[in-house]
Each structure stands twice: as C-alpha cells, then as structure tokens.
C-alpha cells in the first residue's frame, strides 16, 4: 500500500512539474514571437503559416536604427556601387531595395528614455528616502492622513490628471521638454518610493541610531552614515522599480512630448515608413526596448511582491 501511494505521489509530482513547464512555455510564446520576428528577413515577416526556422537576419535591427529612402526605378546601383557599400547598407539594399540616408529616430528616442528615466529615478529615490525616513522615525502630526494623501495621488488615472497638467505645461512652456517629463515622472513615482522605502526603513532597528546619537552624531549624520547604508538593498530595489515604471510610462509621454523629449513608448507605435508599417523593425525596436526591463525584473525577483503592492505586503 505504502509503496503504491509513494509511487502515485512521485508520478503526481512529475505531472505537476511537466504541467508547469508547459504553462510557462505557452506563457512565453509572445516573447519568443517578438524575438523570432525581430530576426526574420524582410520577406519572411508576412509569411503564412509563420516559420520558426529560417536564416536569421539583422536587417530589422539595421532598419530600426536608420532612416532610408527607396531607390527610384531606373536608378538601381551598379555592381560596383554595391561592392563599395558598407555592410549594413548592403543588407538593407538586398532586403528592401532601400538606401540608408542617416541615423534614424530610434537611437535619439532611446537616449531620451534613458535620460528621463535615470534622472527622474535618481531624484525620486532621494526625495523618497528622506521623506520615508521622516515618516518612519518621527511623530508627524496627521501622519496617516499625509501618507494616505501621498498614496492617493498615485491612484489617480493619468487621463484625469493629464488635462490640467497639459494646460499647466503649455502655460509654463514645459511641453516636449526633458525637464517637464522628468518632473512629471518624479511626482508620479515619489508616492510609490515613499511607501516602499518607509517599509524598508521601518525594518531597520532604531537601536543603532540611538547609540550613535548618544555618541554625539547629529540626526543628519545618523541618517547618512547608519540608515542609508543599511537600507541600500531597499533603496536599490525601489530605484529599479521607479525606473521600470517610468520606462514603461505611456499616457504622459504620448501627450506631452512630440519630438525633442519623446520617449520610445510614445514613438514606436506610430512609425509608418514608405513601405507601410515595418513590423520587423518594430519587433527589433521592441526587443531592444524590453531588454532592460526584463533584466531588471530578473534582478528584482525577490522584491517583486513588495514593490507591486507599494510595500503593503512584505514576504
């Protein structure tokens, strides 16, 4: 009896594992599809039924990074000109019959995303850490109300706030500027940072601080030399979260940036080339754009629950 029950349990265990692996595989199909499309040659993208095995091409990646024009009929480059082309020009010519004109808009948009997200994350985390320390260690009058107020600003639908913000930015001349989006993302994320960081700082025992203060440290020294080093993990996790949030932000970026400060999410879906919407290039851009968020998610995995619930749940 016992042996049969044991064997049954062992089979059950393996069935469970296989089921989970199959589910995970199905779950990741859209991602594999993005990678698959990004490496497809120009002619392979709109093939039905879709191919899984093909000769990979980096044409899509070249197309997302460049701006091109089609050769007019009759002006086809000669053999000599083709052999004089740079490698990427040759790939583009062979796939779509286009001439590379200059660097495309994508690198600029990507740089915008990096600049806006990094600066806003840095400032958010600084503001969030000091505010969280204040809320964690001092008896602030109306503390719960203040904290709730901070949280509630995050719950507002962006489409509601965006109308007056749009008017305000237009009045101040902040539309389509880096500073405008940075300010907005700080305000958008600081509530999150305060809540999560307060949770992290609450966990640090106060005894060290008290001992240091007895030894003559000032409050600020205590904060800088004792609290911040102990909260490093929390601060780093919060920073990564803030970065991901602003990296993915769309509604504000879409409405408040046109060209100069435009980020990737606001730009990528609206790229119609001469040859129609270039899905291969879009997939290549998507792949490059999603990569940092993916890496960060994997780094963050231990703090995910805490982050997504604003620090309400500490595993």
């Amino acid at each position: 009896m016992a042996i049969i029950a044991n064997r049954k349990r062992r089979i059950g265990r393996w069935v469970l594992i296989i089921v989970l692996i199959v589910i995970t595989f199905i779950y990741l199909i859209p991602f594999m599809y993005i990678i698959n499309t990004a490496f497809k040659p120009w002619t392979g993208i709109k093939v039905y039924p879709p191919t899984v095995i093909f000769k990979p091409s980096i044409g899509s990646f070249i197309r997302i990074f460049t701006s091109r024009t089609v050769y007019p009929p009759g002006e086809v480059p000669t053999e000599e000109e083709i052999s004089g082309m740079k490698w990427y020009e040759r790939i583009v010519y062979k796939e779509t019959n286009e001439e590379v004109v200059r660097l495309g808009d994508f690198p600029r948009r990507y740089l915008n995303s990096i600049i806006i997200c990094s600066i806003s994350t840095l400032i958010t985390v600084i503001l969030g850490t000091i505010a969280a320390y204040g809320f964690s260690r001092f008896n602030v009058r109306g503390k719960d109300d203040l904290l709730f107020f901070i949280l509630s600003t995050r719950m507002l639908p962006p489409v509601v706030v965006v109308i007056p913000v749009f008017l305000m930015f237009r009045f101040l001349g902040l539309t389509d500027t880096h500073i405008g989006l940075i300010l907005l993302y700080i305000a958008f994320n600081v509530s999150f940072a305060v809540w999560v960081l307060k949770g992290f700082i609450d966990e640090i025992p106060t005894e060290y601080e008290e001992a240091a203060m007895v030894d003559g440290y000032t409050r600020f020294q205590v904060f800088r030399k004792i609290v911040v080093p102990q909260a490093t993990t929390g601060i780093a996790a919060t920073a990564v979260f803030c970065f991901i949030f602003s990296w993915n932000e769309y509604a504000f970026a879409f409405l408040l940036s046109r060209k100069i400060a435009q980020t990737v999410p606001a730009w990528l879906p609206y790229q119609m080339g001469v040859l129609g919407y270039d899905w291969g290039a879009a997939a290549a851009g998507t792949f490059i754009f999603l990569l940092p968020a993916m890496v960060f998610t994997i780094i963050l995995r231990k703090h995910l629950v805490r982050g997504i619930t604003f620090g309400a749940i500490r595993k």
């Binding site: 989970l20 589910i23 995970t24 779950y27 859209p30 599809y33 499309t37 993208i45 709109k46 879709p50 503001l127 000091i130 505010a131 204040g134 809320f135 001092f138 602030v140 203040l146 107020f149 901070i150 719950m155 507002l156 639908p157 962006p158 489409v159 509601v160 706030v161 109308i163 007056p164 749009f166 305000m168 300010l183 600081v190 305060v194 000032t218 409050r219 600020f220 990296w247 993915n248 509604a251 879409f254 409405l255 990737v264 999410p265 990528l268 879906p269 998507t286 754009f289 999603l290 968020a293 993916m294 998610t297 994997i298 995995r301 995910l304 629950v305 997504i308 619930t309 749940i313 595993k315």
Partner: protein, 309 residues
C-alpha cells in the same frame, strides 16, 4: 536657509565656535516638505483646476478669454454626460472589460499559484520569474506586438489556436475581448505572486491538524486555504480593478483610439479632450471616473478591513 545660519546660542567654548545641531523638527520639515510640495504642485493643484474646468465651458484650443473661454456653466457638463445614451454604452463596456479581465486574472492567477505552491522542484523560482516577466513590460509596446500577433493575414495567434482568419483587432465586435486576453496574459502573474505570498504565510500546523481529523482536500481548501489567502486576494482585486478601469495604454497599443476601437471610457476621455478639444467636458468625465474609482476602492477596503479582523 535657516539650518545653515549660525545660531545666536552658539557655543564658544575654548575660543572655538560650535554650531548648534539642527533640531529634529527642522530636519523633519526639510525631509518631508519637498515631496509634499511637489505632489501639491503637480498632482493636487491640477486636480482642483480640473474640478473648476468641469463646471465651465472651456476648450484648450481657443484663446483664453476670461468669461468666454472658461465660462461658468454649472453642472451642465455632468448632466450631459449622464443623460447621453452613448455614454452608458461606454460605462457598460468598461465595466465588462473590468469584470472579464480581473475575473480571469483572479481565477487563473490563484490556480497557477496553487500549482506552483504544491510543486516542489528546484526550478520553481526560475519558473515564477519567467511567468512574471509580462507584468513589468511596457503595455503599449506589448500591445503593439500583440497587434502583430493577432494579425488576421499572417499573425501567429490564429495559427497556433487553429482558428481561421479571424480579425481580432479591427472587428468592433471582437476587439474588446482581444484586449481582455492580453490584459489577462499580462496581469495573471500579479495575482499569482500575491497568492503565493499568501499561501506561504499559512502555518503548516493548520493542515497537520486537519490531516489528523481526516478532513477532505476540499474541506481543507475551503476552511483553511481560502480564508487565509482571502485578504491578499482582496488586495490583488483592488489593485487590478483600479488599473483595469483606467486602462489606456494597452488598447492604444493593440487597437488604437480610432473608430473601430472598443468604447472604453479612458479612450473616449482622450478623444474628447485632445482630439475634439472639449476640455471642460473631458474634465467632467475624468471626475466621474475618479468618483467611480474612489467609490469602488472604498467598498473593497471596507471588506478588506473586515477580513483582517
């Protein structure tokens, strides 16, 4: 800056000047005020501005002339929204979207959590991490890729499911569901993560005690697992309901905001405010959405507080 100023009571022992250390209250103000001020300027002030606009007639496209372009018209915007039969269709469509996507996420997420929690193998952490990936991706970009995935002519979605050339994106009868599918795909891991956190917090002795009483699997699930995970499921429900109600970037990525787009409130709000430039009407609609969110959340929070006791 008052903290850097030399205090009058500075110690001058041994001929050396000692600065009086910053008082706690000063430090506290310095620490908390920047955040509060920033939030007031960028969040609260616009909110009141928006409230004012919602009671007026105003278009951001016209020049500002006080008394004409904003002109106070009382609650006309609100009454126009609430008596518009089209708007009720939008409310119902949005509600349908919320119920379908959040419902699907709760069931699938909790189910998946049970599977993962019951299994015991080394790659469990890896699988959880992989499953969580869609959640932290940009919804509009993911939506864009799903648009390609759904394509009736060469998309892989129909092919993999063995369906014919079904148009998931530009058919108004179907594209709400295509967004629901992507929403469920993206956010099931969220419910799953919270459920796993809840399941791991259940003390083992409860099950051991039930084992001694020879309780059935279903009884254990109903009397131990469910009540213990319930508060966390409720938290997931609150977060997901709010997010699904104000969904904007996912439909923008998959379908766009054009004529075939599903009649979701947030898309309509965008069209009204920034395409036809009825700014004040849009503000009123925004406020109605805000009131719905606050009302729903407070009902859920009431349940949550009851569950915690």
């Amino acid at each position: 800056m008052s903290i850097f100023k030399k205090s009058k009571k500075n110690d001058t022992r041994n001929g050396q000047v000692y600065y009086r250390p910053m008082r706690d209250i000063t430090l506290l103000r310095l620490f908390i005020l920047p955040t509060i001020i920033l939030l007031i300027v960028i969040n609260v002030f616009p909110l009141f501005w928006s409230l004012f606009l919602s009671f007026s007639r105003y278009s951001a496209k016209m020049p500002n002339i006080w008394g004409t372009n904003p002109r106070m018209i009382g609650t006309i915007n609100y009454s126009r929204i609430l008596t518009d039969p089209d708007m009720w269709i939008r409310f119902i469509t949005t509600a349908k979207y919320v119920v379908l996507s959040v419902g699907g996420e709760m069931i699938l997420g909790f189910g998946l959590a049970l599977l993962i929690f019951r299994s015991d193998f080394k790659a469990k952490g890896l699988i959880t991490t992989l499953l969580v990936l869609p959640m932290t991706m940009s919804p509009v970009i993911v939506g864009l890729m799903w648009q390609l995935f759904y394509d009736p002519n060469w998309g892989t979605f129909n092919y993999l499911l063995g369906l014919g050339r079904i148009d998931w994106v530009s058919d108004p009868a179907r594209n709400l569901y295509s967004i629901v599918i992507v929403d469920i795909w993206m956010w099931t891991p969220f419910v799953m993560l919270l459920s796993i956190a809840g399941l791991s917090a259940i003390p083992k002795y409860l099950y051991e005690a039930a084992e001694i009483d020879r309780a059935s699997w279903w009884l254990k699930f109903r009397k131990i697992t469910l009540p213990m995970v319930y508060p966390l499921l409720l938290v997931a429900l609150i977060f997901r309901t709010i997010e699904a109600f104000k969904i904007f970037d996912l439909p923008m990525g998959i379908v766009g905001r054009g004529a075939v787009a599903p009649r979701l409130l947030s898309l309509h709000l965008y069209n009204v405010s920034f395409v036809t430039w009825k700014t004040s009407y849009g503000s009123a609609l925004g406020y109605i959405m805000l009131i719905i969110i606050i009302a729903t959340t407070s009902i859920f929070i009431k349940y949550l507080n009851k569950a915690k006791q």
